[in-house]
């Protein structure tokens, strides 16, 4: 495995040397930091609702008495949800002050937040939704789902893809035949139709954690087939190379050959294939949640937040801030797409195995 680590570290250095690679790497690192410190960065918890401030537009900030204040607003009428600023009035903002309690990294109990409001006004950096929850806070928390689902999903499907593809390519015969028919079968059904049919087999309501793993399971179930087919092709050609034959003659077991000779040779491919397929998982989760079949209220995901924008009131009144989660999905997906392309250029410049 030493070779693998050398290979990945040189790949990583090459990635950072390219401007596009460096840019998306920084963007993604920032996103992951946001995901980890979402509680610290957000002023309100995801379930903190305020029915007095529904469909609130983003609040303005003002400078008063030597400190930043959040603008006070007055509701015009209950049903229109229109707000007018009260000139010169507001509540002071506090930095690193205690707010709602949370656990940093799920372990360390903390209550300090980057920004909190000291007073009756609410801080809505990106507006509020139909029950007065802070969209900015929810957006930060939604990062967790989108950024983790891709990683866990590809980890599962790459493992299955490598094992099935490697065994099929190495042993051939009946196993190969069955495995390949199975992948063809999975590819014969348009992805989302298969996704919906699979989702249809499970109950409507789960705990958020169960739902998360159900989505990962369904997406990986669909996703492993493409990887398996390509790994099989690579293993087939590796099998006739001299070092594999030498290992066979020396009496190494098939598992050991797969692990020690095949895996290191397809490892860089696996990394690139994984990066390229991450957007599929992010979009798959977002689509499922958007359709109301994935993450459910009151927990939060970008797709779920976007589905609130389907409320007719939202687009007739032009509440643009409901569309911000779409932008977040877009930036994440484009970053992974660019990252995947740059990695592919590094590893497979002639695009022998990996085509867009």
């Amino acid at each position: 495995m030493i070779r693998v680590s050398v290979m990945t570290s040189s790949m990583f250095k090459e990635l950072l040397r390219r401007p596009a690679g460096l840019t998306v790497f920084i963007v993604l690192v920032l996103f992951y930091l946001v995901a980890i410190f979402a509680d610290f960065l957000s002023p309100y918890s995801v379930t903190d609702q305020d029915l007095q401030h529904t469909f609130h537009p983003p609040t303005a900030l003002l400078w008063k008495d030597g400190g930043l204040h959040v603008q006070r607003y007055e509701m015009q009428s209950r049903d229109l949800s229109g707000y007018t600023p009260v000139v010169g009035e507001g509540s002071p903002l506090r930095f690193f002050a205690p707010g709602y309690e949370y656990h940093l990294l799920g372990l360390v109990p903390m209550s300090h937040h980057l920004i909190t409001v000291d007073g009756p006004d609410r801080l809505y950096l990106l507006g509020s939704d139909q029950v007065g929850r802070d969209i900015y806070s929810r957006l930060l928390h939604g990062t967790r789902i989108s950024l983790s689902i891709g990683l866990i999903g590809i980890a599962v499907s790459m493992c299955i893809g490598f094992i099935v593809g490697g065994l099929a390519g190495y042993f051939g015969g009946a196993f190969d035949n069955i495995a390949m028919r199975l992948t063809e079968f999975l590819m014969a059904i348009p992805g989302l139709y298969l996704l919906l049919a699979l989702r249809g087999a499970f109950a409507e309501s789960f705990t958020p954690t169960q739902m998360f793993f159900l989505i990962v399971f369904i997406l990986s179930f669909i996703g492993w087939s493409g990887t398996a087919r390509i790994i099989r092709g690579m293993t087939l050609s590796l099998r006739n190379r001299q070092f594999v034959m030498a290992a066979e003659v020396m009496g190494q077991s098939s598992w050991k050959i797969l692990w020690k000779h095949v895996l290191p040779n397809v490892f860089s491919y696996l990394i690139v294939a994984a990066t390229i397929s991450i957007p599929g998982y992010i979009l798959g989760e977002a689509a499922l949640s958007f359709l109301g079949l994935g993450i459910q209220d009151p927990s939060v995901s970008w797709g779920l937040m976007l589905s609130q924008a389907q409320n007719p009131q939202v687009f007739m009144e032009g509440y643009w801030w409901f569309l911000v989660p779409g932008l977040a999905i877009f930036v994440t997906v484009i970053s992974f797409n660019v990252l995947g392309d740059v990695l592919r250029d590094i590893i497979d410049p002639k695009q022998k195995f990996l085509r867009s």
Binding site: M187, P190, Y193, A197, L198, G200, F315, G318, N337, V338
Partner: protein
């Protein structure tokens, strides 16, 4: 060629059997059935529900239901006591009865399929018509400003989720009022002249086509550019230029026809993602196609409708791939399928 078509159509049979078996199993795994939503109602008595279940065969195990369904589905039935001779033969497949829509599933499919096929085809055509010239230009003027900008736009277009784009289009339609919000035809469609009907459908189709087509434009453009670049460097281009052939002839008669081959194969694959994308676009933009049908059926646990729609999507995908293979053979005389 004939052998290819027959072989593909034969493969379709076991494929459809396995898919339908799987969908049946999946639908049966879901808790509850189409009748269970009535259990909550106080004025519906349990005996009636039991009778309904018996009538629909919902009290039997899933594999019995499946075999029952399979026994009826074949697209041929004979009605000896029909009035005229031709009415005795019925070539419509019997996909069962929709609990939710209260009609034959086949009739639903006949209503919805043309809308989805039309949407998929128009967005495929849109993608090709825009993307091929762009891809060729980007390859010929590689590394120019035009190439850079189109590459960046392609990245952006590939990364926008279809449902987000559909949502934006909906906001646009609602704000400007230039486009209808949802639907396949307007209310007065039946009273229009043939030309008016055509325009009416086109008007409803335009926004969904653009939304669905944009991702395709980016994908096709990138493949076209890469293929064109591959071929520009090859030796037959040097030969053609050395012969003194005009640059336009080299590019379009030689490079273009070679570069477009992988694209035709890709179109077959792209069909799968177009059908998936169409599903989302149909749901968000309220376009009455088969994707919207399967989604609503799933929410209502209308098993026969889900079953039939998934099978139709498989058939559409297979036929799309087959047409791509045939087109490939027509463009490239080196390819033989026997």
């Amino acid at each position: 060629m004939k052998a290819l078509i027959i072989k593909r159509l034969l493969i379709l049979i076991p494929m459809l059997l396995v898919v339908s078996l799987m969908v049946s199993l999946l639908m049966s795994l879901a808790p509850g059935d189409p009748v269970s939503q009535f259990e909550m109602m106080p004025d519906v008595d349990a005996e009636y529900l039991q009778r309904l279940r018996q009538e629909f065969g919902l009290d039997q195990p899933w594999y019995m239901q499946y075999f029952h369904w399979l026994g009826q589905v074949l697209p041929f039935s004979y009605h000896p006591d029909a009035a005229s001779f031709w009415q005795r033969f019925d070539f419509r497949p019997n996909f069962g009865f929709s609990y939710y829509y209260r009609t034959e599933v086949w009739d639903l499919l006949v209503q919805r399929m043309p809308a989805t096929i039309l949407l998929s085809l128009t967005s495929l055509v849109l993608a090709w018509v825009i993307a091929i010239p762009l891809g060729v230009l980007a390859a010929i003027y590689k590394d120019s400003i035009f190439d850079r900008i189109s590459q960046m736009l392609a990245y952006a277009a590939l990364s926008i989720p279809e449902f987000f784009l559909a949502l934006l289009a909906l906001v646009f339609a609602a704000k400007t009022g230039w486009f209808p919000i949802g639907g396949f035809t307007s209310v007065e469609h039946d009273f229009l002249s043939p030309w008016g009907r055509f325009l009416d459908i086109a008007h409803h189709l335009l926004l969904p086509t653009i939304v669905l087509g944009i991702g395709g434009v980016a994908g096709v453009m990138r493949i076209m550019r890469a293929n064109f670049l591959d071929n520009i460097r090859s030796e037959y281009v040097v030969t053609a230029r050395a012969k003194g052939l005009a640059e336009g002839a080299v590019m379009f008669r030689h490079v273009f026809r070679n570069a477009i081959n992988p694209l035709i194969t890709a179109a077959g694959f792209a069909f799968s993602s177009i059908l998936s994308g169409a599903l989302l676009v149909e749901i968000v933009m309220n376009y009455p196609g088969i994707g919207q049908l399967v989604y609503n059926a799933l929410l209502q646990q209308d098993a026969f409708v889900v079953q039939a729609s998934v099978l139709m999507s498989v058939i559409m995908l297979m036929i799309g791939n087959l047409l791509a293979d045939i087109a490939l053979a027509m463009n490239d005389p080196r390819i033989r399928y026997d």
